[in-house]
Each structure stands twice: as structure tokens, then as C-alpha cells.
Symmetry: D2
Subunit: 253 residues, 4 copies
């Protein structure tokens, strides 16, 4: 059940760029996951843990997931190295109620593609360009404290068509200096779980230190927190609630 | 491209019950697929072919799918016997524009579950009971020629909660004698393809001879026909359409 | 801004049946509004006030609405007696962020029809029949504490087609003994405000004493509470955020 | 019923700017309505008539509307001069199945605001700037024959937040040179009618001669054509379809 005290968050990061590329290492010396966790704690009383690709079961054991209300996901070059068994476990957790916040290049992660039921492709370009994100729904809990728009001076470009099912909610649309647009902050329900996609966050920029980005991720974590834990795997055979006169004539199969 | 002349339909059926159970064999001596094909041809000039589980590649080769505008799917006890490779091929065809009409127990087929991104579970009961399907959208192309409601005297019950993402359109809701309700005719877009789910059609009833059921499937086939053939697999790196001043300062990755 | 302490609720009731019909007066001696207010307070710390048709400005002055986070609406035979000026005021309050919970026969109120942009018609019957409401979204905040379904032994029937725009969320669907179905608990966003429609509540039944009905209204009030106060009346002329080279050549109008 | 032969279109224009402003008169000497009608006929076999504000009943008599499958609407400075009685008539026609295509500044027309149930406000600027419209749904009938994007060299800017209910479909999003974005081509169903909003078309630009703009309006007219003529005004009292045991005990009201 939802409670107002605290939300248990696990921030997952493949944690590869930060250990292989000096530019990225300078920006995120303790990894993107650590910067994201700090941002969440700046705005909430959430309890945050982190998990990475190189840990056993990528740090996403049954026990960890059972204790997680919301999972945050950053991946890019290591998508294929995430074990199918772990993806299947995360998938069932989301469907039974765990929240999932997918960041930036996580659009191509196995878990996001499986939940969307599409390829999740898009246009992209690394050109150090300006992104301006427009706030379409200032009354939405995820956008509390965010103004009419905010800007990131340098980001990677993602352009439409973003191959996802029509979102339940399109909360922000990005304008890019180079001429494209993108649905940058979207939500979908899958099973009993809430899924959020938030576009910014290329590893060579200081995006996860930006106050608006931090605020939005923190709000999203609060909004997507688990409220139930109900598996949707089984299809129960159920007796009738009202008289069914023909039942006795039913052919035996 | 859409054309008004003809639509190429492939009706796929696992074709197991009809060869193993006398009750079913009596009702559908040439298989459910044949009855469905006859129904489509009663109301359209569609060109219909059929395919079954026991054929090589389940009858769904690259050539067959390339020549298919809309695929109709009936499966039940053989879901697990459908090869993953064939499912992956059908999946990409739908995402690039092919229509897909999923019938009755096909809710648990691999292809439907993959496109939905959920478990697609539901309640069920075989009690020979009455189903009344209410028409919520008489202006929708799929419901042309269908009245305010229609009844099936005996059907299997499917009850909510149906574990699917919120449909783009809920076109019919069923009332069951035993006390349940169900969203019986729904549509979703996935990639560039249109997906339709239509509930009735348990193998021990004469459902696919019912004129309303036939009309709806025939209409659905017209509505879901392929209009484009665009793969969504790749994410292209694209040059800017407007000047991007910072581009030269871009860090080399 | 949303806060976790308290929500200010105004329950509006035309308060006519209770004073003209003995059956209704016996069930709701202090009016439906009072029973609804008691139900909300049973499950929340909301601050509730009431307002009725016969008060000056129907009790919905600027001051009252400015101090209202969520307005609950029950009306039936007096829809036409609600002044257009008051409706216009409530309308703008909803669009700028106030929540609105519309109950039962309020489907035909001026305010609901104006917010929907449709006629909001439906089928109906008073036959003392059973209604079973199925819970489609147990993870939704409005359905916290409500089981898989609940029953009302005697209610008025409302049947589809309910002439409303496709809801953002369909949370419950009703089964009626007499053979119909209905989307009984739905939500829509209009402007910055959240609108909820909840079907049960015919004046000749004890519906607003039912614990599930009370729980749902109480939850809805929490969920729909105002989070912003932003008018959407004006369309601002705004200067460009990026250089626009052609601007000097603009024709003077 | 839908037929493939021909669609009856009425193009309504307030026809004020063209007779009061030389710049506009030079571009549209026979009025915007005439240019729009020519564009529709370039791509369809639709039968087009026009109607303007200064005609009796604004040219939208019962007879004209009864013979109209799709109404196209251009208005700007004369919104307030459209009689409420005519708006009410158009409104009921849309709800009973007539298509409506609202162009550009028609976002603030009485008919569009009534159908949306919101204020329909937006940001705007006249700065002779570039608009690039991105195609999000190339498989949609309205976008047949339109590429990945198209550009208009000079247009008025409209920026988010566009105060409309979440569209059923967002088909195009605009990028503006001055830094804004806008959902430029959207659809909603209201009652049994299909409503399309298409953004471009400021009177001082040659927008309605653009081949992509013409193609989209022509496609929209085909897509939104009336398929039924069913009033949604009345709420019928209906007898039960199944036995209702308690009916005799029903209190008489």
C-alpha cells in the first residue's frame, strides 16, 4: 500500500562509460547512478540503493526487487549484456506494481522495449546542441516545481518519430536547436505498474546535476511508487456469481 | 499503400482441437480458420489464405508475411509450440504496418503478449452461458452494420481484469449471465500496425458462424489493413536541419 | 500546491428530492450532501462544507470556490435551475485546477456536459435491480481499499452507450441484473483540473451509506485535489526565445 | 453510411480579413474558403460548397448541415459574431456524426471550445518565422503522401501549452524557429463525430497553397466523413433484457 513516509528506490546503471571514458569519468566520478541518487535525495526522503551490471544478477536479485518500490534505469552500450532472466524478473515486478523510471538511452533497453511492445527507435545526433523542454502539464505531480520550460545548454538530440505506443500522458516536449522535436517526458501503465520515460541524460554532459532534471526524477519516483503487489501471471477459472441455467448441459472437454 | 480494391488476409489457426475433439470437429470440420475465412469473404472482397501450426514455419514464411496485409490469429493449447523465430518475424511485420486481429484465446498467444507488453491474463469459465456484447461506438468502421448489441446464447466467459494496456479504443463491452463484464472488442496501435482483439470464439460453440461475429471480423480486416511498410528497427544518426553553433566544440567520444 | 495535510471539499446538492419525497427523506433526512460529507470524513481528514441550489448563487460564490480544492456534485431534477453564471464560474475553476467529482444523475448537469463537450446521454431504468461494479485498476489511488468487485443490491440501471469522450481512465465497469453494462468510474483531465464521474447514487436507495461507495468518493477527493491555480483563459503574445531572422520583414497588419 | 464515392464538404470561413486587408486580399482574392476548397478537390472527388459569416444563418442552415458530411472551419476576428443558435446546431451535427476540421485560429471558435470542454488557449507570435511539422504517424490515413516532415518558411507561431484535452491522436508536432513546439495535427472523437485540428494557416501567408497542407486537409476530410447519423440527445428509459426479480417491489416515485 502507498504510504507517505518513504519510498524504496533502486537506481540501476550499467556503469560502463564512467569507467572507460575520461570525459565521462570527470563528470560522474562515482557513476551516473550516484548522481541520480543524490538528486532524488535532494527533493525526497526516499531510501535509495544502487545496482550495476557487473554485480551478481546485475544487483537485481529477487530480494532486492521485492524491497524496491521504484526502479530507475540507465543503460546504453551494455543493453545486450543484461541477462534475459533478470529482465523477465524486472518485467513481472513492474506488472505486479513496481514503478519504473527509464532514463535517456534506456529507450533501447530490453526491459523498456518489452514493456512497450515496440522497437522504441528514434533519430539521434551528438552535436552539443541546446534542448528546451516545454512543460505541458504543470498540474501533474511529476512537474511540481518546474516552470513553463527549462533549458539544457548542451545535450544529445533525440528526434521523432519515437516508436512507442501512444503514451497515457505526454508531459514534456523538447525543442532542439538543430530542428527536431521529441516527446521527452511520458508515462504509461503496464499491468499494475507505472512506467515513466525521461529523455535527457547523455553521459558526456552534466545533465544529472541540473536542478530541473533532478526535481523531475525525484517527483517521478514519488508518483510511480508501488501501491499494490498483485501478480497478473495467472488466469483463474472462476465460478459464476449469478445462476447459469445451461451449465448442466455443458459438453465435457 | 492502402487501396480500395482488395486486402490480402492470412488466417492462422493452431488447428488442434478440431482434430482431437469430436465436439469441435463436428462444428468446424475444416477447421476454425476455414470458417473464419468464409465469414470474411461473405462481407468483403478480401483475398484469404490460411496457415496452421503444423506447416513448415507454421505457414508464416517471410514470403507469406510480405504478401499479408492483415493476419488473423486463433490459438489456444498450442501457444508454446509456436517458434520464437516466427513470433519475432510476425512482431516486426506488425510494427512495420501489417494488421493483426487476435481472436478469443489468442489473448495468451506469444505474439499478442509481446505486442501488449503485459501478461494478458483474465478470469474465465466454461459454463455454457449467455454473452451480450454492447456496441459502444456505432460510428467506428469495425462496427458498421452491427446494432446496439448482439447476443451469443452460449459462450465461454472471460471476465475483468483483462491485463492489457489501456486500449486506444474500447468498441464493445460484454455482459455475462454469470455476473462478469469484459472489454470484448479493443484496438491498439503498435509501431505502424493496427492490432484488434475480439473476444468470442470458444471452439465448442458455433460462434464463427454467427453473422455479427463474421461482420465484425470482416470489418476489422478492412480497418486494420496495412497502409505503409516502414521498419522501425533502426535508430538513424541524423545531421541537423538548422545551424548548431556548438558543434565544433563537441568532445570526441 | 498539493499538501498532505488536508483537502478543502465542497459538496453541492440540489437538495430537492429529499424535501419532496418521503421515501427519499427517510433515507437522507439531512440531504444527500450530508451523507456524502460524512462518508468523506470517515476516510479522510478533509475539511468539508456543503452548498445547495436554494442558497444565494447556489452557495457557490467566488469566495467559496476560491477556497475549494475539490467540488462534489449531485443534481437531477434541478439541472435547468442552475444559473449559467454559476456554471461558468465553476467551469473556469475546474480548468484552472479545482477537482470535480460528479455523482450519478449529475451526468446530465450543465457543468459536466460543458466539460465533456458531449451530450452525456445513456440508457436508464428504475427496477430495483442488482449492480455489480468490477474493479479494473486496483493500483489506482481511487480504488485503494476496494476489492475485486462490490455489489449494490438495488440501484437504478444506467446502460451504455454513455455519450462521453473516451475517458483517460476507466476504473470500474458495472454489470446489471437486467442485462446492461456501464463504465461506472471514469476520469478525465480538463485544463489543469481532474474530473471524476462515479455512477451509483439513485436517491431512493441507501447507496451513500455503502462502505465501498464512501471509500471511493473519499479516495477520489484526495486524488482530484487542486495542485495548481493557473487560469487558461488568456492566449499570451510571446517574444521569441531564439533569433528569428525574418522578423524585420514582417508585414504590418 | 460511409461510401467510397464522394464526400459532401462545406468549407466555412468568416471571410473578413480578405475584404479588409490588402496583404490578405492579394494572397486570397476569392477568400481562404475558396483556396481550401480548391486544395481538397485537387486530391479528392469530394463535393465542396462554401459558407460565410455574412450569409443568413452564416450559411449553415439545417438543410446545409443535413447535407454535409464534413465541415471545415476557418475563423479568427469574428468568433463572437457567430450566433449561439448556429453553434448549437453545428454542435449537435458533430455529435450525431458529422466530421469537423478546425483550422488555425479556429482554436478559439465557439464550436471548437464547446467540443473540447476547455479554453483552447495557447502562446502566439507573428514574427515571419519558420515552422517545421514532424510526422509522428505515417501510417495514419490523414498523413498518406506526407513525408517525414515538411516546412513552411513563414508562419505565425503557436506554442504550448495548448489547452485542449489529451488528443486521441497526436499526428504532427511543430518546431518553431523562435524556440517553441506545438501539437499541430490532432484528433478527438466527440459523440459519433470525428474532430481534427490542424494548426497552420495564418491569413498573411500563402499556407493554403502549400501542397502538404492541401494534402493533409484533403485526407482529413476523407477520414472524418460522417458514417452514421445518430442523435445522442435523448436518454431512453429501457426495459430489462433479463429477469429482474425485485422489480415488483420498486417504490413508485
Amino acid at each position: 500500500m502507498r504510504n507517505d513516509q518513504s519510498v524504496n528506490v533502486t537506481i540501476w546503471n550499467e556503469y560502463l562509460h564512467e569507467r572507460e571514458n575520461e570525459v565521462v569519468a570527470d563528470i560522474y566520478p562515482d557513476g551516473i547512478h550516484t548522481a541520480v541518487a543524490e538528486g532524488i535525495q535532494e527533493y525526497t526522503s526516499a531510501s535509495c540503493r544502487t545496482a550495476t551490471l557487473d554485480q551478481p544478477e546485475h544487483g537485481l536479485t529477487k530480494e532486492v526487487l521485492a524491497a524496491t518500490d521504484v526502479l530507475v534505469w540507465w543503460g546504453h552500450k551494455g543493453h545486450d549484456r543484461v541477462a534475459d532472466e533478470v529482465v523477465a524478473r524486472v518485467y513481472q515486478q513492474v506488472l505486479s506494481g513496481m514503478g519504473l523510471i527509464v532514463l535517456h538511452s534506456g529507450h533501447f533497453s530490453k526491459i523498456f522495449r518489452q514493456l512497450m511492445g515496440t522497437n522504441c527507435s528514434l533519430k539521434w545526433r551528438e552535436a552539443d546542441e541546446k534542448e528546451r523542454l516545454w512543460n505541458l502539464e504543470p498540474s501533474h505531480p511529476i512537474l511540481q516545481g518546474v516552470g513553463d520550460y527549462f533549458e539544457l545548454d548542451r545535450e544529445e538530440m533525440y528526434g521523432e518519430r519515437f516508436d512507442v505506443p501512444t503514451p497515457d500522458e505526454v508531459l514534456m516536449i523538447s525543442w532542439f536547436q538543430g530542428g527536431e522535436v521529441f516527446r521527452s517526458l511520458c508515462t504509461w501503465q503496464r499491468g499494475h505498474g507505472r512506467v515513466v520515460y525521461f529523455r535527457p541524460g547523455h553521459e558526456t554532459y552534466r545533465t544529472y546535476y541540473d536542478k530541473n532534471v533532478r526535481r523531475i526524477i525525484a517527483n517521478a519516483v514519488q508518483w510511480a511508487r508501488r501501491s499494490v503487489d498483485i501478480s497478473t501471471v495467472d488466469a483463474p477459472n472462476t465460478p459464476p456469481l449469478e445462476p447459469v441455467p445451461n451449465q448442466s448441459k455443458m459438453p465435457i472437454l
